[in-house]
């Protein structure tokens, strides 16, 4: 066993998990509180990446661009909430799925028209572009460590907000009992708009963080949205804790599966077949886990308290 | 008379709140047994456990000598327990007749039939119409259920309970939201049912309860504090103190 590789891959898995958490936390907030299925959450992830990438090229600094791009993405989320999402809160999930499916097509094509098809490579400041050598063959890119740090920080921030602030209290109350919140005289519409914009900002933030690694590209959101749904379904819709644990679980399984499954498969099949099937099987793994979890616990691992 | 439904040591709590607290209750065959109690006493929770919608934490429920504590909801219905809902629960986008016909069909037990159009099956239709007639809704048979008034919905609930032909009917506040006239109509109707079916009635309308019930159980904070004939309940001091006192 190559322990250095295992450690590196575990950290890679943690990094993917934290990124997934950022996307999934926004999704679970919108889903849990607004009872709104937003397939276009991934499109907001992409939008965030493109806005930030464009600003980076325009301003010449990735971090400044991010500081501006996050509220801009939140604003885009707010706009979508007002125009598409709000009229659909009272409708069934099917309508929401279809309308946001349409929204994906619209946003994807608009981004193609505005930014071109080739995507944008995001330059990083030199101090972020290097790598840290921990010895014993453990070398990690500085930037990936930054994502890990940023992800943990955001996770703490979110937990703090949900647990200790007034808005967090409202969010928790809104998730379990919507009528009660409106009975308390809280402007539920403003709360919903805030939550939607917050979700968009989180998705956008995740997209911005990944874009210096994979570039901002069209369709990048479609890759992650399904995985993010798997995360929150496994974790239990509306549960921040569930989203975190689900994201880490899926991130680790995906990365470790991609890393070690072909070696394992090669033990009992031809190397060529192992090379092809291993990535597909590791992609399947997360769905198998989801099906297994739901077969045993139809409400996910950490369902929020009864509605 | 033997007891049709026998509940022993039933408990159910949600979080820290005890909704059902050591309930022991016998419903005798053929009687109309009313369960009363202030709001939040746990009446609907109790019915839900009896019908199988909620599993109890501990205790046992015997029906016709059979332990049904863990039986699934649809299984209990098959054994002969039917319930109406406090908040009207009908298939709103179907016609009135279809709603009743579904109950008749359930009783006949032949529903994995794929070919013949259900609406053209005379025995189904005719029996459903009989029950609609019994509650005075025959003329509304083909109307979409959504178009009926609240009072008519309550009557439909009764017709469904009738159609299921179950020995035990559990009626959860059938008078809720009815005007005086409609209430009177319901009371008259329930009177005609007395003796033919065993009925567990949950009701807030005390006039109706005392006019209809053979025996009454009083539920307070999930616990039964007294069971007896209407006269016994009227004179029970604990009941007067805990419950009737507040009503006046």
């Amino acid at each position: 066993m190559d322990y250095a590789l295992l450690l590196v891959q575990t950290l890679n898995g943690v990094q993917l998990g934290l990124l997934l958490f950022l996307v999934a936390s926004g999704l679970t907030l919108v889903f849990g509180i607004l009872d709104f299925v937003n397939l276009a959450h991934g499109a907001l992830y992409m939008l965030g990446a493109f806005i930030c990438a464009w600003l980076t090229l325009a301003l010449g600094n990735f971090l400044i661009a991010m500081v501006i791009a996050v509220p801009v993405t939140a604003g885009a989320g707010y706009l979508i909430e007002r125009t598409v999402a709000r009229p659909l809160y009272a409708r069934d999930h099917l309508d929401q799925v279809l309308a946001t499916f349409g929204l994906i097509l619209v946003i994807d094509t608009m981004v193609h028209l505005v930014f071109g098809p080739e995507g944008i490579a995001v330059p990083l400041p030199a101090w972020l572009n290097g790598q840290l050598d921990f010895g014993a063959n453990v070398i990690l890119p500085t930037y990936r460590l930054l994502i890990i740090g940023f992800g943990i920080l955001t996770a703490f921030g979110l937990f703090w907000m949900v647990t200790y602030t007034k808005i967090g209290m409202l969010i928790r109350a809104g998730a379990s009992n919507r009528t009660m919140v409106s009975a308390l005289g809280i402007d539920i519409q403003t709360l919903f708009a805030f939550v939607f914009a917050l979700g968009a900002a989180l998705a956008g933030l995740a997209g911005m963080l990944i874009s210096p690694i994979t570039e901002a590209s069209i369709g990048m959101g479609n890759n992650i949205i399904i995985t993010a749904f798997v995360v929150i379904i496994v974790g239990g819709i509306g549960s921040m804790k569930g989203a975190f644990i689900g994201a880490m679980l899926i991130g680790l399984i995906d990365t470790l599966g991609r890393s070690f499954l072909d070696t394992i498969f090669a033990l009992f099949m031809s190397p060529a077949a192992a090379e092809t099937s291993a990535p597909a099987i590791s992609a399947m793994l997360i769905y198998i886990i989801m099906a297994a979890v739901l077969a045993v616990r139809p409400q996910g691992l950490f369902p929020p308290k009864a509605r | 008379m033997s007891s049709l439904l026998s509940i022993t040591g039933l408990n159910k709590s949600f979080g820290g709140i005890k909704a059902t607290d050591d309930v022991n209750l016998d419903v005798l065959e053929g009687e109309l047994h009313a369960i009363i109690g202030p709001n939040g006493a746990g009446k609907t929770t109790l019915i839900s456990q009896l019908s199988g919608a909620l599993p109890p934490d501990t205790g046992s429920i015997m029906f016709n000598g059979q332990d049904i504590t863990r039986a699934p909801a649809y299984g209990r219905a098959k054994l002969g327990i039917t319930r109406s809902f406090q908040i009207t629960s009908l298939v709103k986008d179907m016609s009135v007749l279809d709603n009743i016909a579904l109950a008749v069909q359930a009783k006949q037990g032949h529903s994995f039939r794929f070919l013949k159009p259900a609406r053209s099956i005379a025995p189904l239709r005719d029996e459903a119409l009989t029950h609609l007639d019994a509650v005075g809704l025959a003329d509304r048979a083909d109307a979409p259920t959504v178009n009926l008034s609240h009072g008519e919905h309550r009557l439909m609930e009764i017709a469904i309970a009738l159609a299921s032909d179950a020995p035990l009917m559990m009626l959860d506040e059938p008078m809720a939201g009815l005007g005086p006239d409609e209430s009177a109509r319901m009371v008259t109707f329930l009177k005609t049912l007395k003796g033919k079916r065993t009925i567990v009635l949950i009701e807030h309308d005390m006039d109706a309860v005392f006019a209809l019930a053979d025996r009454i159980s009083v539920l307070v904070y999930g616990h039964i504090i007294a069971t007896g004939t209407p006269a016994e309940i009227r004179s029970n001091s604990a009941v007067r103190q805990a419950y009737l006192g507040e009503e006046d």
């Binding site: 890679n12 098809p117 080739e118 995507g119 995001v122 790598q131 479609n222 990535p279 992609a283 | -």
Partner: protein, 393 residues
């Protein structure tokens, strides 16, 4: 609804059967998704070729209809069907992706049309699935990595780790480099491809580094190459695991690498059948006019697309515009009697070019733009290894 259908019906009846006047070319490429950047480049090249020809092949007017394959074999096949059946084209050309070409092949050859691949060269079509009406103006997939394997041997690289996308061409590339490389292959990773391609290679790169290989061979065309090189750079792998690539650094990615200040790519080497500096008049004109028209160097995709139109035009001219003379057209195509931007070449029995392969290097041109130049010739008049499996004489 029925009104729409009636209208549609009326329109089609009025339009009547498409009557062929001149030669019609359907050009299948990728115009949506991230890979559209390649598709647009080929489209530019086709437009330029038509402009250079004055829209005529001899006395016969040429018409080109573009179709978008959406980066998916299924869509590619659908648009091919439409070109063949509705537009009744005489040639279907283009095809960036081997899997799209494999899916569409049957539709074209069954309809007795000519299929001209301007990029994809899957091993199956070079071998068992070869067809008299199929021609390539690019290469067979395995050839370019075979040349790279040869270069690796010359450089004395003893062990290799391989990364490629999991699709027909990816597998051919792996097979190609393995067939000529004399050292040991320590591991291979095939990653998800298509519209939802995998772009985060952290796990694979960590494995490659841990494998202890002396070199990393990659094939990542289009946008994926940017993501790959970025991550490779961030891991600081340049010194302990040099990368050897095919089809991953091109005129489309170089300007973006330059914008992103990605200096690691400068000086990197890769093999190819064409380069903008190849010294022949057709190439000089093509490159100069392309830069003038579109403001950037043409990519090899563009060069091959440009060639495909010129090859077709030479055949159409040879038969004097008689599109029903299939045998005449075929013979003219086989002759490859046109000014190819890669210089003269001949066709093998499977209708893949027998041509040179060069080692190219990334350099800066006099205006400071990043481009490539030829370092050496790796193979001369090289024929692919599947030609023997092709039953055509």
């Amino acid at each position: 609804m029925n009104k729409t259908l009636t209208a549609l019906l009326a329109a089609t009846v009025l339009a009547g059967p498409a009557f062929a006047e001149g030669a019609k070319i359907g050009f299948v490429t990728t115009l949506t998704t991230g890979a559209a950047v390649i598709g647009n480049d080929t489209k530019n090249a086709v437009d330029l070729a038509i402009a250079h020809l004055g829209g005529m092949a001899g006395d016969t007017p040429l018409e080109v209809i573009f179709a978008d394959d959406g980066f998916s074999p299924e869509t590619g096949k659908q648009v091919t069907d439409k070109l063949v059946k509705q537009d009744d084209v005489d040639f279907v050309a283009g095809y960036l992706w081997s899997n799209v070409l494999l899916a569409s092949r049957k539709s074209v050859v069954d309809a007795d049309k000519f299929l001209i691949s301007a990029n994809a060269g899957p091993s199956q079509i070079a071998g068992v699935l070869c067809h008299e009406n199929f021609f390539s103006t690019s290469w067979q997939n395995n050839q370019t990595p075979m040349a790279m394997g040869e270069v690796l041997n010359q450089l004395g690289v003893n062990s290799l780790y391989i990364m490629a996308p999991n699709y027909a061409a990816g597998k051919d590339m792996v097979a190609g480099v393995e067939s000529t490389f004399d050292g040991e292959v320590l591991g291979t990773d095939l990653t998800k491809w298509g519209a939802d391609a995998q772009l985060d290679f952290s796990a694979e790169l960590a494995k490659a580094r841990a494998s202890g290989a002396e070199g990393l061979f990659i094939f990542y065309p289009g946008a994926a190459s940017g993501a790959f090189f970025r991550q490779y750079d961030q891991l600081g792998m340049k010194d302990d695991l040099p990368v050897y690539s095919v089809f991953s650094v091109d005129a489309l990615s170089l300007p973006r690498f330059q914008d992103a200040g990605f200096n690691a790519v400068m000086g990197s080497q890769f093999t190819q059948a064409w380069d903008p500096t190849l010294d022949n008049p057709a190439n000089a004109k093509f490159v100069a006019d392309y830069i003038e028209t579109y403001g950037s160097y043409p990519s090899f995709y563009a060069a091959q697309a440009y060639d495909s139109i010129n090859l077709i035009a030479s055949a159409v001219a040879a038969v004097g515009g008689d599109m029903d003379d299939k045998d005449g057209l075929r013979a003219a195509l086989e002759a490859a009697d046109y000014e190819s931007v890669r210089g003269d070449y001949t066709y093998g029995n499977n209708h893949f070019p027998i041509q040179n392969f060069y080692l190219r290097e990334v350099v800066e041109d006099e205006e400071g733009r990043w481009t490539t130049k030829v370092v050496s010739t790796v193979f001369e008049n090289h024929q692919d290894s599947f030609a023997s499996q092709c039953k055509l004489p």
